[in-house]
Amino acid sequence: MAPLGIESFTVPRSKRKHAPKPPEKVSLYRNAFKSALFKFNPKLMIHNPVMFVVLIGFILTLMMCVNTQIFGKTMATVGYVLWVTFILWLTLFFANYAEAYAEGRGKAQAETLKKTRSDTLARRILENGQTEQVSAGDLRAGDIVRVDAGEIIPSDGEVIEGIASVDESAITGESAPVIKEPGSDIASSVTGGTKVQSDHLVIRITTNPGESFLDKMIALVEGAKRQKTPNEITLTVLLVALTLIFLLVCVTLLAYAYYSKASIDIATLIALLVCLIPTTIGALLSAIGIAGMDRVSRFNVIAMSGKAVEASGDVGVLILDKTGTITLGNRLASEFLPVKGKSREDLARISAESSLDDTTPEGKSIVELSKNLGVKDVTNPPGSNFIEFSAETRSSGVDLPDGEKIRKGAADAIKRFVTEQGGSWPEQAHELVEQVARQGGTPLVVAKGADVYGVIHLKDIIKPGMKERFAQMRTMGIRTIMCTGDNPITASVIAREAGVDDYIAEAKPEDKIKVIKKYQSEGLLVAMTGDGTNDAPALAQADVGLAMNSGTQAAKEAANMIDLDSDPSKLIDVVSIGKQLLITRGALTTFSVANDIAKYFAIIPAIFSSALPAMKLFDIMHLGSSQNAILSALIFNAVIIPLLIPLAMKGVQFKPMTANQLLSRNVLLFGLGGIIAPFIGIKIISLGLNLLGL
C-alpha cells in the first residue's frame, strides 16, 4: 500500500512541471540565518510563551556573566555561566531558525508570484469611452479595462466583452491556454497575473487593490498573515500550563535548597527550568504549522488559512463529485449489443463509421472498441457528411454520399429517426436499452437507415487507484460520498464499483448543503469540492471546501482552499496532509514531554550532589561532574531542535491505518523513543564534554 503522502500523487507529473520550484538551498539557509537573528526581538518572541521564558532566562544568565554574584553568593565560575548563557542563546537561535526556515521556503515561492504582479500596466476605459494608462495597483472594483493579446490581465475580474485564449500558467502551472468569453459561469472569470494570448478582452475588475486572488496567494504563501490555528492555540495553552508548573518547581526549589543548606546558583536553576519546559515543541510549533501550509501549496493547492488545513485532518466525510473525481470525465464504450438478426461485427462497423469524425471521447472510444473487436479498415467514402450531436436531435452520425444515414443516440431520438425513415422499432432494442440502464450504463442506440442494429453500452470508467484510496479512507474512518446527477440505479452501480460508502443521486446543489448539514449535526467535519457558482453555498457550508481554479470567482471565494490544477481528487491528498500536520504536532509534543524523565535524572543528582553526596545514587548515566551533567542536558535540549527541523518540515510519515494502529506506532516511536533518546544523547554529549575537559 503506497503511503498517501507526497509520493502517491495522483496528478500526472507532467502537469506540475510549471509548479513553483523549491527555492535554492544555500540562499534559503542564509536567509533563514539572517531572519533568525531578527527574531530575537522580544516583541516577536512574546508570541511564543515557552521560548519567551528561555529569553528571560538568557537575560538573567547574561547578567551573571558580568558579575556572577549578582543574584547572591555562588560558587559558579564565569566560565560555567558563559557556557550556560551561550547554550541558552543557541536554544533561542535554533527556535527562531526553525520558524525562519519554514517561512523562507514559502517566501521564495511568493517571490515568483510577486514578479508577475509588479509593473503591470492597465488600460482603463473611462465613461466617455476613452482609455487611460494606469498602474494595476490603482484599479478598483468596478473599473473596466481592455487587455490585448500579449498583455497581462491586471487584476481579477469578469469578461464582459470579447473572446480570447488566456495563458494561466503563472498561477496554475498548466501550460494549455483556456478560452475566456463573457456570459458563461466559469469561462468569464479571469485572474490577475494571467496573460491574454490572442485577441482581446474587456474586463470588469471585481477586486480592490491588495484583495485580488494573486495578492491573497502571495500573502498566504509568504506566511505573512499567518494566524495561529485553533488546535495550535489550544496546544499553546497546555504548553503554557506546563511551563508554569515547571516554573513553580524551579522557583520553589530555591526555597527547599535554602532550607536544606544546599545552595543552587541561578544559572543552574535556569538550566533546569529550560530543560524541563517543553522547549522542543515550543520551538517547532509554528514551523510545523507553516510547513503544513507549505506542503499543501506544493500540491498546487492554496489554503486560505491554516485552519482549513488543520480541519482537513479532522474530516469525517468526503463528498466527491462523481465526474472527474471518481470516474474519468467521460463515459466510454464498453460493449456492442446487437439486436436479433444483426451481427456484432456489423453493429461495430457502422458504429465506428458513424464515429470516425466524432471528436468526443465517447466517439473515440467507440472507434477504439470496434478496433479491439477486430473490425479493421473502417473508412467513410469521400463526401460523407458528419452530423454533430445537438441537444435538439440528441443524436449524431454521418450522412453517406449514397444518401444512407447512420445515427447513434438516445433511444427515443433513434426511435423517431427510424420511424421517419419508414422503419420499425424492434421490441428487443427496448429490452437492451433497459438492460444497459439497469447496469448503470448509458445506452446509445445505433441505426442505419430504417434498420436498428443494436445498442452501444457506454460506461463510466472508475479512475485507476480510486477504489484502493476509498478503502484507505475507510480504514482511517472517513466516509466517502459520491455526488452525481445520474439516476439512482446508475449511481448505485458506480458507487458499488468504486467502493464509496454512500451516494447522492440526481443531486441538485441544495442537496449537497442538506447532506453537509446532516453530517455536521452528527459532529462530523465535511469536505467537498466544487467549481460552479451554484456550488458556492455548499462550499461555504462545508468545513473544508476545495474549489477548482477553473471554477467561478464565487466558488473560489466561498471555498477555503483552491486547487490550481483543478483536480478534485486532490481532496484526498489534502486530508492526508491535514492528518500529517496534527500527527507531527502531537508526536513532537509527546517527545518533548517524555524527554523530561532523562533530564531529571541528569540534573537533580547534579544539583544536590555537593550538599547531599548520597544523591549520586540517582546519577544512573554516570555523567561525572555536576557541571558536565547540567551542560550535557542543556546542550541536548538545544541541539534536539535543529535535529528535528527536517521532521517538522516533512511531517511524520503517515500511512493510512486505524487510529489504534497509528497510536501504537507513534507512541512507541515518540513516547518510548522520547524517554530513551535523551538518555543516550545526554551521555554522548557528556563524553564529548569530557574530552573538552568540562
Binding site: T234, A241, F246, V249, T252, Y256, I597, F608, L612, A659
Partner: protein, 591 residues
C-alpha cells in the same frame, strides 16, 4: 469461558490466597474490592439514574415527599453553573451553621467537660477542613470538643462534605457520558438516602458490636491495677467513625484516630475500615463504565488505579519491613528487626502491635490514596521512604481518591493524555466522543496547575520563614517532609498529618485553611465546567479513525502522563525531603 464465570473464578482464587500468612490480607482486600466495585457500581448507577433498587420501596416515599415540596422533576436538569452554585451554597450554609456551634459550644448543652468555644483561626481552619472532606485537625478532639460539637458540627459537616463530593462527581460523570448534569438537590437527597444512610446505620451497629463506644458520656474514670485513677475519654464514636471512613473524611473522634482502640478495636475492624474508605471511590469507577456503556473503560481505569495502589503499598511495606538500617549497626548487639513468629519485625515505631506492618501499611496506603486521612499508625514515624508513600499518594490524589473527586482527578489526566497523544492519530483530540478544544484545555490546565501551586508555594514560604520553621519538630530533611506533608495533605483534602508539625499556629491555621479551600473548589468547579462544556458538543460516534481510550496501550499512556506531568513535578521536593533522609539514614547520618 464466559466473562461472568471468569470473574467468579478470579474471586475464588483471590479468597483462597487470602489464607496465606502475612500477605494474604492483600488478596482478600483485592477480592473484596472487586465485589464492592461490581455491586456498588451498579447500585450507584441505578440510584442516580432513578432506576429501581433494593431500597427503593423503603426510601421512595421520603424522596418523593422531598421532590414534591421542592418542585424538582427529572426534566429540569441544572447547568454546570447552577449545579456549582447549589453545591457552594449548601457548603457555605453548613459551614456557617457549624461555625456557630463550635464558637458557642461553651453555652450549649451536651458539654459535660465544659469546653469553651473554639478560637477564631482554629475554627476557620476546622470549618474549611471539615466541609471540604479534608478533616485536617489542628486540635485534639477529646480535649477540645463537646459531644454536641462532635455530632452536630463535625459529624454533620463530614456527611455534607462527602455527599457534596459524590454529587459533584455524579454530575461530572453524567456530563462526560453525554447525559444532562442532573439536579443537585435531587442528587443530594438520593445520595443521603440510598447511599450513606443505610451504610452509616449498619456500619455504626457493626462497630458497636466490635466494642466501639456510642454514648453521650464523655468520660469514665477507672482505677488502674496500680491503683491510680485514670480518665478514659468516650462519646458517640461509632457514628462518627462510620462516616469518617465511608465518606473518606478521616477526622477522628480521638487524637490518635484509628490507632485508638476505641476507634479501631481489632484486625477485622481495621480491614472493614480500609474497605469503607475505598467503597465509593472504587464503585464510582464502574458506575462510570456503565454510564459510558463501555464497561471495559471502567475496568481499565480500575485496574490502573489498583496497580498504582499496590505499587505504593508494596514500596511502603518493603521499606517498613526493612526498618531502620541504623539499628543494624548498634553496638555491641544489633537490634533484631527480622520478621519471625514472635515479632513482626521492621519498623514498629508508631504502629499498633495488634495490626503489625502489613495491615498498617495497607491502611496508610488506603487512607492517602483516597482522601480519607484517618490513620491507624503515625505517619511521622514511618521510615523516610515509608513516609514518601502517603506523600506520593496525596500528590497524585487520584488512586481511587476521595469520594467522587478521585475519579474526577483521574479523568482530568485522561483529558490531558488524550490531548497530548490524541493528536498522534491525526485528528483533533476527542474524549468519549467529544472534541477537546480551547475552553476545556484552559480549564483542565487550571485544574492541573492548582495542585502543585498550592503545595509547592506555601511549603516554600514555610521552609524559608520563621513562622513556618518554628512549628516543626525535627531538623534536616524530615522537617521539610513535615511541612510538605501538611500542605500536600491540605491540597489533596486528605487531612492526615505528619504529627511532628505543631499546626495549631496562626500561620498554619490560616494558610492550610486557604490551601484546603483552593484544593477543593477550584478543581471541582473547573471539572464541572469541563463537563458542562463537553455536554454542549455533539457526540461523534466512534469509528476506525477514533482514538480508543479503553485499550491497554492508551491506559499505559494515561498512567505515563499522570507520572510525567503529575508526579515529576514533585520530584525535587521529594528528593530533598524523604529521599535525602533515607539516603542519609542508610549512610548513618542523623540531624
Amino acid at each position: 469461558m464466559p466473562k461472568k464465570n471468569a470473574f467468579w473464578l478470579v474471586l475464588i482464587i483471590l479468597f483462597a490466597l487470602g489464607f496465606l500468612p502475612h500477605w494474604g490480607i492483600v488478596f482478600l482486600f483485592i477480592a473484596a474490592g472487586l465485589l464492592i466495585t461490581v455491586f456498588g457500581g451498579r447500585y450507584i448507577a441505578n440510584v442516580f439514574s432513578g432506576q429501581r433498587t433494593l431500597l427503593t420501596p423503603l426510601f421512595q416515599p421520603l424522596e418523593s415527599v422531598f421532590l414534591r415540596v421542592s418542585g424538582i422533576t427529572d426534566s429540569n436538569s441544572m447547568n454546570w453553573i447552577q449545579y456549582g452554585q447549589a453545591l457552594l451554597l449548601v457548603n457555605i450554609l453548613c459551614g456557617l451553621f457549624s461555625a456557630m456551634i463550635l464558637s458557642l459550644q461553651g453555652d450549649l448543652p451536651l458539654n459535660p467537660m465544659h469546653f469553651q468555644g473554639m478560637s477564631p483561626w482554629l475554627m476557620f481552619n476546622t470549618i474549611c477542613s471539615f466541609i471540604t472532606n479534608t478533616n485536617w485537625q489542628s486540635y485534639s478532639g477529646e480535649q477540645t470538643l463537646s459531644n454536641l460539637s462532635q455530632m452536630l458540627a463535625l459529624t454533620f459537616m463530614m456527611l455534607i462534605g462527602a455527599i457534596s463530593g459524590l454529587c459533584v462527581c455524579i454530575a461530572f460523570l453524567r456530563g462526560m457520558t453525554n447525559k444532562a448534569l442532573g439536579h443537585f438537590y435531587q442528587d443530594f437527597v438520593r445520595a443521603f438516602l440510598y447511599v450513606f444512610l443505610p451504610v452509616l446505620v449498619i456500619g455504626s451497629l457493626f462497630f458497636v458490636s466490635q466494642g466501639v463506644p456510642q454514648t453521650l458520656h464523655q468520660q469514665v474514670t477507672v482505677t488502674t491495677i496500680e491503683g491510680a485513677k485514670q480518665q478514659i475519654a468516650m462519646g458517640p464514636v461509632a457514628s462518627l467513625l462510620t462516616i469518617k471512613q465511608f465518606g473518606t473524611n478521616g477526622g477522628g473522634f480521638f487524637n490518635a484516630n484509628s490507632a485508638h482502640p476505641y476507634e479501631n478495636p481489632n484486625a477485622m475492624t481495621n480491614f472493614i475500615e480500609i474497605l469503607m474508605e475505598l467503597a465509593i471511590p472504587m464503585a464510582l469507577v464502574r458506575t462510570f463504565g456503565l454510564w459510558l456503556a463501555d464497561k471495559k473503560q471502567g475496568w481499565m481505569i480500575w485496574g490502573a488505579m489498583m496497580l498504582l495502589f499496590l505499587l505504593s503499598f508494596g514500596v511502603g511495606t518493603c521499606f517498613e519491613q526493612i526498618g531502620n538500617t541504623m539499628f543494624n549497626h548498634v553496638h555491641p548487639v544489633p537490634i533484631d528487626q527480622a520478621l519471625s513468629p514472635l515479632q513482626s519485625g521492621g519498623n514498629m515505631e508508631g504502629k499498633e502491635i495488634r495490626f503489625g506492618i502489613i495491615p498498617s501499611l495497607l491502611f496508610t496506603t488506603a487512607t492517602t490514596a483516597t482522601s480519607t486521612g484517618a490513620v491507624n499508625n503515625m505517619h511521622d514515624s514511618l521510615t523516610p521512604i515509608g513516609g514518601l508513600v502517603p506523600l506520593w499518594n496525596m500528590m497524585l490524589n487520584l488512586i481511587f481518591g476521595g469520594v467522587g473527586v478521585g475519579l474526577m482527578g483521574f479523568l482530568l489526566y485522561g483529558i490531558i493524555a488524550v490531548f497530548i497523544t490524541g493528536l498522534m492519530v491525526g485528528r483533533t483530540p476527542e474524549i468519549f466522543g467529544k472534541k477537546l478544544e480551547k475552553p476545556e484545555i484552559i480549564l483542565a490546565s487550571l485544574a492541573i496547575l492548582i495542585h502543585p501551586l498550592i503545595i509547592l508555594v506555601p511549603t516554600a514560604i514555610a521552609a524559608m520563614s520563621h513562622m513556618g520553621l518554628s512549628a516543626i519538630n525535627n531538623l534536616g530533611p524530615h522537617g521539610l517532609s513535615e511541612i510538605l506533608y501538611a500542605y500536600t495533605s491540605a491540597a489533596a483534602n486528605n487531612g492526615s498529618a505528619f504529627a511532628g508539625l505543631n499546626a495549631n499556629t496562626t500561620w498554619y491555621n490560616i494558610s492550610i485553611g486557604i490551601v484546603i479551600l483552593l484544593g477543593r473548589y477550584i478543581s471541582i468547579i473547573a471539572l464541572l465546567a469541563i463537563a458542562g462544556s463537553l455536554l454542549g458538543k455533539t457526540k461523534v460516534e466512534p469509528g476506525p479513525g477514533t482514538l480508543q481510550t479503553n485499550t491497554l496501550l492508551f491506559i499505559t499512556v494515561w498512567v505515563g502522563v499522570i507520572l510525567v506531568v503529575g508526579a515529576l513535578t514533585f520530584v525535587p521536593a521529594l528528593a530533598l525531603g524523604p529521599i535525602a533522609e533515607q539516603l542519609a539514614m542508610m549512610a548513618g547520618n542523623t540531624f
